[in-house]
């Protein structure tokens, strides 16, 4: 599994030592107080007991850390100790590949090579340990980092270097089908909480040396591993430099989810619209990378961020690219329409029935008027109440334990709606409208739908005071706002505004693959062409003649 790959080292890019935050004044470590020390600058000593003492002091009251001291090859010549975290490191690996090798197998090797105290370190490393992945460090910080990341550290008496054995093997969720982004056709696997599994899922899609995955640790307390993935040669180097710069600027105590990072690296932090994309689908991330985007993976969450994020991606789903282009284009248009409905339907409804009754055909007006005759509330109050009720139901639907969820949704949908209509509190038309609006908001990307759902409330207020004029003003304000947004330098509304004629092949419609020969212009500008010309399939020329 992925955890056997090269060990994770902090700050492979960027600013080196100072990443842990505190810089400057070097103090002599006080006894038992390492909390304010820059551990990376403390070297290991040659004495095993001193090292163990320091490590124990740093990791005091950490009941899950295990120290195992033992002797090399069943005699007293060389003292050894391993340190690992119970539950993070694989115990079987520790006993088979480290302890067994050093305690039992060593005499077999010793017949050919002589182990002395001085040579022990190199020989253990080269000849004895059967661990796949081995690294060394000479700093206390390196040791602590490795232990807390799930590796096993082997200390050898008399040596100022420690061996880091890649033995990560904690219990994690298996790769399962995506829960939130479901497709009918296409790969089903989704990311999990383990970073290495996630990187492997991407690597499995793109077998190319140009797929680069750089690591860093963020969060002074959590020391969370963060990976930056991109495809060299496709991605714009300026973008990578920008992303790195923004990531390195982060100086917080904790990173528990990609959302923490998102809010710290956004272009427009106050905007209701997301300018960073999340997904838990590896195929989606692979596609994003192949268009020239960068992906940010965070250990501990199955959500991967990609940047830059354009608004149009709210309407693009992986399945669009797997199904036939005509079908996908139709689905796109449906989503676009649904997006407009979920933003505007309640406000347009309010505007029409309280300001612009002339827009309705006469017979529709009469039957709507008859419905409303029985309703005591003004239309806006009614719609607000129903929309809020729907939001409550939706919110409850997410939080409810699965067992009661179904009951509540039935109660919500049927009883409340039906009863409200029967009691004459709400017009049937309003119920239809609110239901439609609610359902429509699930057709496009979830994170955009959150912003759009939020924005429809102020627009409803505008509709109730100024009619359709208010609605337009609301929409125009949003439009101006969207035009000011950029995601990592790329205009948010690209390729619609600024218009890119070639980009239209993947906006309202999804052109066939043989027609989409270029990457989106502003995103993949480093390497635009992605397929050969003239791929459109056609019958062999001989067929016509026969």
């Amino acid at each position: 599994m992925a955890r056997f790959v090269k060990p994770l080292r902090a700050r492979q890019f960027g600013r080196g030592q100072s990443n842990a935050g505190h810089s400057g004044v070097e103090e002599q470590p006080k006894e038992n107080d390492y909390s304010s020390q820059d551990l990376q600058s403390l070297d290991l000593s040659a004495d095993l007991q001193t090292n163990l003492g320091q490590i124990k002091a740093i990791l005091s009251e950490c009941s899950d850390v295990i120290y195992r001291e033992f002797d090399f090859a069943q005699d007293d010549r060389i003292k050894l100790a391993i340190i690992y975290v119970d539950g993070l490191a694989s115990k079987s690996q520790n006993s088979d590949q480290i302890m067994r090798a050093l305690m039992l197998d060593a005499p077999l090797v010793e017949e050919r090579v002589e182990f002395t105290r001085e040579r022990a370190f190199t020989l253990i490393k080269k000849k004895l340990l059967t661990v796949h992945q081995l690294d060394e460090t000479n700093s206390l910080g390196g040791v602590i980092d490795a232990v807390l990341s799930g590796d096993t550290v082997l200390l050898v008496d008399g040596h100022t270097f420690a061996l880091i054995n890649g033995t990560r093997g904690w219990e994690g969720r298996k790769v399962e089908e995506s829960q939130t982004e479901i497709v009918v056709r296409g790969p089903r696997e989704a990311f999990v909480e383990t970073l290495r599994v996630n990187t492997s899922l991407i690597r499995r899609k793109i077998h190319n040396p140009n797929l680069k995955i750089e690591m860093m640790k963020l969060g002074q307390v959590t020391r969370t591993e963060v990976a930056l993935a991109y495809i060299k040669g496709i991605v714009n180097d300026k973008l990578i430099a920008e992303v790195k710069e923004r990531l390195e600027r982060i100086n917080v105590d904790s990173i528990l989810e990609t959302g923490y990072i998102e809010e710290l690296i956004e272009d427009n932090p106050r905007s209701p619209f997301p300018t960073v994309f999340h997904t838990e689908r590896p195929d989606k991330v692979a596609a994003q990378l192949l268009e020239g985007r960068a992906a940010i993976l965070v250990d501990g969450t199955p959500y991967v961020m990609t940047v830059p994020f354009l608004f149009i991606e709210s309407l693009q789903f992986p399945e669009d690219y797997y199904e036939r282009s005509l079908v996908s284009s139709a689905a796109r248009l449906v989503r676009l329409f649904a997006l407009l409905i979920s933003l505007l339907a309640p406000s347009v409804y309010v505007a029409i029935i309280t300001f612009h009754q002339e827009m309705l055909p006469t017979s529709l007006l009469l039957s709507l008027a008859a419905q409303r005759e029985a309703v005591p509330l003004p239309a806006i109050v009614e719609v607000y109440a129903m929309e809020i009720a729907f939001e409550i139901l939706r919110e409850a639907g997410i939080r409810l334990p699965r067992q009661v969820g179904q009951a509540v949704s039935i109660v919500g949908a049927l009883i409340i709606g039906e009863a409200a209509v029967r009691a004459g509190l709400v017009a049937p038309g309003t119920v239809i409208l609110v239901a439609l609006t609610g359902i429509a908001s699930f057709t496009y990307s979830y994170s955009s739908s959150l912003s759009i759902r939020l924005l429809r409330f102020p627009i409803m207020a505008l509709a109730a005071t100024l009619g359709l004029y208010g609605v337009i003003c609301g929409v125009l304000t949003i439009l101006v706002h969207l035009s000011t947004l950029r995601s990592f330098g790329t205009p948010y509304l690209f390729p619609v505004a600024p218009l890119s004629p070639g980009g239209q092949k993947d906006v309202a419609i999804r052109a066939p693959w043989w027609a989409m020969s270029r990457r989106p212009r502003l995103v993949g500008m480093n390497n635009l062409r992605r397929e050969a010309a003239g791929l459109k399939p056609k019958p062999p020329p001989t067929r016509g003649k026969q």
């Binding site: 009754q357 002339e358 039957s367 409303r372 005759e373 239309a379 505008l462 109730a464 005071t465």
Partner: protein, 396 residues
Amino acid sequence: MRNKLACLALLVMIAGVLGGCWSRKEMSELAIVLGAGVDSAPGGQVRLTLQLARTSAFMAGGDGGGGKEPSTWVISDTGETIADVQRKLSAKISRHIYWAHDVILVFGEEAARGGIRKYTNFFSRELQPRETMWVMVARGEAKDILETGSELERTSAQDIGFLARARTGFSVIFKDFIIMLASKGGNPIATMVEIVDRGVISGDIAKDKPTKRKGVALTGTAVFDDDKLVGWLNMTETRGLLWLKGEVLKGVITFPSLTEPGRELSVNIIRGQTEVEPQYDGESVRFYVNIEVEGDLIEQQSVHESVLEEHERNGMEKEMAREIEGKARLALDKAQGEYGLDIFDFGEAFRRKYPREWEKLKDRWNEVFSGAGVEFAVDSHIRRSGLQGRRTSVPE
């Protein structure tokens, strides 16, 4: 950034607080006008009659007791101007009078005879009334027309609206009516409506005997001299008028069989086109009217002739052309002879062709028109014959 957002939020809030009352009208605060009638009242006043929808009667489904409740409320009052009456009426009507869905605008006979321009301005100046409402002149009082009911539709206004839309007679929307009023090259005409017997209602409701119903029908065309009503065309003459104006959209032409006297044939019109070509030699004006018509044979009383035979079909087509010309002559004669008014917009055709001469003739155009010769050239075709080629019910 923060200030900007705060400003925007504040604006929205201010708009929300200040708003409330401006142009907002809840649907349950509307008195929806479906039909409006204008009559003249004593003392040069105007009487406005409104047919309002009683919205609660329009409930769909079982709950609302649909159909049982009366669906309209007709109310009228008099005043100096239409706006004046509207104001007076609003003291009797508990809701906003809402014009945007007005389907028909009916002028009473007397009001129309006194000059219709006096009443039309309100309807083009106001926002709510539509340019697309149907304009009609009632034989008698407009009020009576609006007080009728309808058998198939919920309200008589909608009923009349559908009749007008079907364009079996001459029907005109308000926009076209005011264009005619503004034009010098023709006189306005409008649909004529009156109350007639409209069958009986039978079935469960009338247990004992079928009840006779009276209702509104389109019965012809009202003819104006400038803006004053001067007379009427009946339905047959109206058909002729439509041919001359080139507005035939739907209808049936019935003409006698050539070979079997006393038997008739009917052709359903599919397409008709009329072109009017004026000619002026400095003294007399002539008009050449070219009518092209295509239709389907839909009924044949005669038994032996067949539309499949080319010469027989040609005979039918000729007979059909003669019938059309006859109808058109009927209307033309009435316009030229009885009224002496150009109601076919021939003047406009003349103006387009001879704009300079028109300047001299326009002030006495009706006179010129009455003396003008008109020649017809009708080109008619039977294109299809329904499901039958020849009659089969005849024993060979």
